[in-house]
C-alpha cells in the first residue's frame, strides 16, 4: 500500500458519515451523524481537522455553500467523497472483514449483527 493510504479510525467514520449524508454533508451534520449512529462524542474541531487531512490526501473534496440566517451569515462548506477515498474505505473495511473471519464469535460479515 502506498504511504498514507491507511485510514485511521475517525477517518473511516468521517468518510462513512459523508457518504450517508450525501448532498447535506458539512461539518455540523457530519459530527451529528457520527454521534447519533456510533455514540462517539467528537468535537467539531476534530471533525474539521480530519476532513482537512482527508482532503489533502484527495479522499474528499469540498466546496463553499450557501449562507443562512441560522448561521448568522456564515457560509457552509460541503464535503463529498472522491473515488480514491471510497476505495481506501473499502480496503480498510475489507481488511477488517478478512481479519474477523474465523474468529470465534466475530465470524459474521459486517452489517449482519442482530
Amino acid at each position: 500500500m502506498p504511504k498514507g493510504k491507511n485510514l485511521g479510525d475517525l477517518e473511516q467514520l468521517v468518510i462513512l458519515a459523508v457518504l450517508r449524508l450525501g448532498e447535506g454533508a458539512y461539518g455540523m451534520t457530519v459530527r451529528r451523524e457520527i454521534e447519533s449512529h456510533s455514540g462517539r462524542r467528537v468535537s467539531l474541531g476534530a471533525i474539521y481537522a480530519t476532513l482537512d487531512r482527508l482532503e489533502s490526501k484527495g479522499f474528499v473534496s469540498s466546496a463553499v455553500g450557501e449562507t443562512t440566517s441560522a448561521r448568522r451569515g456564515r457560509a457552509k462548506r460541503y464535503f463529498r467523497v472522491q473515488a480514491l477515498g471510497a476505495r481506501a474505505l473499502e480496503d480498510a473495511l475489507a481488511d477488517l472483514d478478512r481479519m474477523r473471519r474465523g474468529v470465534p464469535g466475530m465470524d459474521h460479515p459486517i452489517g449482519a449483527e442482530a
Partner: protein, 412 residues
C-alpha cells in the same frame, strides 16, 4: 433567541486561535448546532456550556492540523530557526573566550569546591566557607544576585565569608577578593565538545526533516532542536530581562525536545495503540505546558523568589525528565520486542536501541544519583554527556532507512 452565541468574547477567542481558512464554516456550524438543536432541547445554560466545551476541544486539533500542514508544505522554513540556533551556538563558542571563571562552586551559601590554583584559591577561599555576601549583595537574595551583570575577566569581586576553624571551633569572618580569570582549558574543552554534539543534533534533525516530512521526522527535528538548545554554549546576554527570557526559551525548547522524543518513539517505527487514547498526546506535552505557565508567571507577572522554589522545582524537573527517559526507553524496547528480527534490521531498531541505551544511561544514572548525592563528586561527571552523540546519529540513520518504506504512515 438571545445574541449570546458566539458573543464578542468567543469571537475574539476564535479569531485568535482558529486558522483563518476554516474559521467561517466552523463558526457557522457551531452557531447553527447550538441555536437550532442544543438550545431548544437542553436550555440556555447547557447550550452555553456545550458551546464553550466545543470551542475548548476544537481549537487544539484544528491548530495542530494547521501547523502540521504549514510545516509539511514549507519544510525549508525549518532552516530559519535551525540556522538562528546554529548562529547562536557559534556566538556562544566565540564568547567562551570571554567567559569569566572564579574557580569555585557554591550552593546553598556554602562553598562546595575550589579549583586548586584558580582565582578563588589564590584569593584564599576554602571549601566549607559560608558565603555571606558577594560583591556586597547577600547571597540569600538570589533574585538580586541574578540581576547582577557577570564579573568580567580581570575584575575583582569581594566575598564576605564565615569560616569555622575545624580544630578550635572558632568562627571568623573573612573578606576575600577574587580576580576572575578566563575559563580553565578543561572547562572550555567540555563546552566545545558539548557544542559540537549540539550541532550534530541540530543538523541531523534538519537533514532528516528536509528529506522526509513525515510526522516522525518532524518530531525528530524538534528533538534535535531541543537538545541542541541545551548543548550549544550560550553567549552572555547583558540585559537582565533578555537574559532570563532567552534562558526560559532555551529551557522550554529542551523540555519540548524530551516530550517530542517520547512522542517520536511512540509513533516510530510504528504508531503504538496507546496513541489512540485521547488523553495520551495531551499527557505527553502537559509538563511542557506547566513549565510554560511557570515561565510566563516568572517573566511577566512576578519575579519568582527562586530561592524558596528552587529545591522543589529541581526535584519536580528531575522526576519529569527521568519519566520522559524511562517512558521513551520503554516505548523503544516495546517496539524492539514486538518486531521480528527482519523488521528490527529494516526499521533500524537495532541501531536506535543501541544508540539510546549507550547514549542516555550515564546521564540517567547521574540524574538519579543527583537526587541523593552531589553530582560533582562523582567521577567523570564532566564528560557524562559524551555518549549522547550516538542518539542523533542512530535515529537519523533509522529514519532515513525507512524513507519510502510502506510501513511508516505519514499522518499523526
Amino acid at each position: 433567541m438571545g445574541a449570546a452565541f458566539p458573543g464578542p468574547f468567543a469571537e475574539s477567542a476564535l479569531r485568535l486561535f482558529l486558522p483563518a481558512d476554516r474559521r467561517e464554516e466552523f463558526e457557522g456550524d457551531l452557531i447553527e448546532e447550538t441555536e437550532a438543536i442544543v438550545l431548544p432541547r437542553c436550555g440556555r445554560r447547557t447550550a452555553l456550556l456545550w458551546f464553550w466545551w466545543q470551542i475548548a476541544t476544537s481549537v487544539p486539533p484544528m491548530l495542530v492540523r494547521h501547523l502540521d500542514k504549514e510545516v509539511r508544505m514549507y519544510p525549508q522554513r525549518w532552516i530559519v530557526p535551525a540556522t538562528l540556533l546554529g548562529l547562536w551556538g557559534l556566538w556562544g563558542l566565540v564568547d567562551l573566550g570571554k567567559t569569566p571563571s572564579g574557580g569555585f562552586d557554591w550552593g546553598n551559601s556554602e562553598v562546595i569546591a575550589v579549583e586548586p590554583g584558580g582565582p578563588a584559591d589564590l584569593g584564599g577561599l576554602r571549601t566549607g566557607d559560608r558565603i555571606l555576601t558577594m560583591g556586597g549583595i547577600p547571597v540569600r537574595d538570589l533574585t538580586a544576585l541574578r540581576r547582577q551583570p557577570r564579573t568580567e575577566i580581570g575584575e575583582t569581586t569581594v566575598l564576605v565569608v564565615e569560616r569555622t576553624d575545624a580544630a578550635t571551633g572558632a568562627t571568623t569572618t573573612e573578606n576575600i577578593g577574587i580576580t576572575y580569570s578566563a575559563l580553565p582549558a578543561r572547562d572550555r574543552t567540555v563546552s566545545i565538545v558539548a557544542g559540537l554534539i549540539g550541532f550534530v543534533f541540530l543538523l541531523s534533525g534538519l537533514i532528516v526533516f528536509l528529506k522526509t516530512q513525515s510526522t516522525p521526522a518532524l518530531l525528530f527535528a524538534a528533538v534535535g532542536f531541543g537538545f541542541a538548545a541545551i548543548l550549544l554554549p550560550s553567549p552572555y546576554i547583558g540585559p537582565y530581562g533578555l537574559r532570563i527570557f532567552t534562558m526560559t526559551l532555551f529551557f522550554l525548547a529542551f523540555l519540548t525536545g524530551f516530550a517530542c522524543l517520547l512522542h517520536f518513539l511512540l509513533v516510530f517505527p510504528k504508531r503504538k495503540r496507546v496513541m489512540e487514547k485521547k488523553l495520551v498526546p495531551w499527557l505527553i506535552y502537559s509538563p511542557v505546558a506547566v513549565f510554560v505557565a511557570v515561565g510566563i508567571i516568572n517573566f511577566v507577572v512576578v519575579d519568582l523568589q527562586v530561592g524558596t522554589l528552587r529545591a522543589p522545582a529541581a526535584v519536580l524537573l528531575g522526576l519529569i525528565l527521568i519519566g520522559y527517559v524511562l517512558l521513551s526507553l520503554g516505548a523503544l524496547v516495546h517496539s524492539f520486542v514486538t518486531a521480528g528480527p527482519g523488521e528490527r534490521a529494516a526499521e533500524g531498531l537495532n541501531l536506535m536501541l543501541a544508540g539510546v541505551v549507550v547514549g542516555l544511561l550515564p546521564m540517567t544514572v547521574m540524574m538519579v544519583a543527583g537526587m541523593f548525592v552531589r553530582t560533582d563528586l562523582l567521577p567523570g561527571g564532566d564528560w557524562i554527556f559524551l555518549p549522547l552523540i550516538l542518539i542523533p546519529i542512530s535515529f537519523a540513520a533509522a529514519l532515513l532507512k525507512t524513507v519510502g518504506s510502506p510501513q511508516v504512515t505519514a499522518t499523526g
